[in-house]
Symmetry: C5
Subunit: 91 residues, 5 copies
């Protein structure tokens, strides 16, 4: 998984039937100086909103959630981050 | 998933039997200054066309669509983007 | 999927039993200035040869072909490219 | 798999139900000069702690562990490294 | 798949139960000037040793080998390379 920040959302009327009703959020990596081209789109399953720090799972992991098990999704927000405790001496 | 723009298509007469009749579109990442070497090829399942902004799923997610569940594909266009709402202050 | 050019082949006598008889081709990305370190190895399922432009699928998609469904392969040539039609104004 | 060092942990109260009780560790690649943006988050299944060198598996491999087979995780710490024996003449 | 050279091994006493007895080899990409941070760890299934050139499969492909079908591994050495025939005019 990786850490990211929710920075927007995607509106898509015409999409795969199984994605109807899903919330498609734009995320950018949490650290560094990510640009727009580093952003990705993830389905939200935990009620995340713009501005929040989130934990993101990719690949088939994203479909290990009941309502999306048969949807063509490869990225899901699986947690909202309260805190990240880092050993700062490592950086 | 990631956002992309459809910029062309691939013609391949000789291909895996299960890909017959599929539409193979060339996509480039939506943001930044992508070059030809950044382009990828995705199967279209939502009726997308050249010039449109699309949502792309990769990996096994691409096969979560009935007609392609047994095809050797790893990338599919799963939505046509109407709008992307971004918190511009993040960039 | 991505576009590539076949530039060679790999000879490996000692390999996983399920790979016996398979054709292991070396491919390089089609566009840009790829070096040897950008090359990958794909199993051929469509009769491709050195010099040809091909369509390549990676990951579990590569095993969506009968004879390789239980082989440890993660990349397959699934089509021979006749033509790539690109909107050149995009580059 | 790849080698990494545990450098922290993530606290997330609101998360997918199946992740309750899991230990979410922040890891950075073992070699080179990784920055915060190179860090990833992995579920620990071997009792690893901050400061330890670990072996990390990603993708669906992370779910090949009983308690996480149905969790949306894509990265797991599968071993604690005692030693890495390298042919230094190769670098 | 990709080509690599075996340059070492990892010793890990504490690891997922299903990895007991497995040989964990450190590999570096075959071409270019790979550094230590480019190295990865693969399970060996063909009897490869340090110094040999090998063919490596990643992702779920690595588990398409009987003894590792339920192990948390994402990379396996599936062949020992005797020769790589490249069209040198391409580089």
């Amino acid at each position: 998984m990786f850490t990211a920040k929710v920075v927007g959302n995607v509106v898509a009327t015409q999409k795969d039937e199984s994605l109807r009703g899903s919330k498609l959020l734009v995320i950018k990596p949490l650290f560094g100086k990510p640009k727009k081209e580093d952003c990705l789109v993830a389905v939200d399953i935990v009620g995340a909103g713009v501005g929040e720090r989130v934990l993101v799972a990719k690949g088939s992991a994203a479909r290990k959630v009941d309502q999306f098990s048969d949807s063509p999704i490869d990225m899901a927000i699986v947690g909202i981050i309260d805190d990240i405790e880092l050993d700062e001496s490592e950086f």
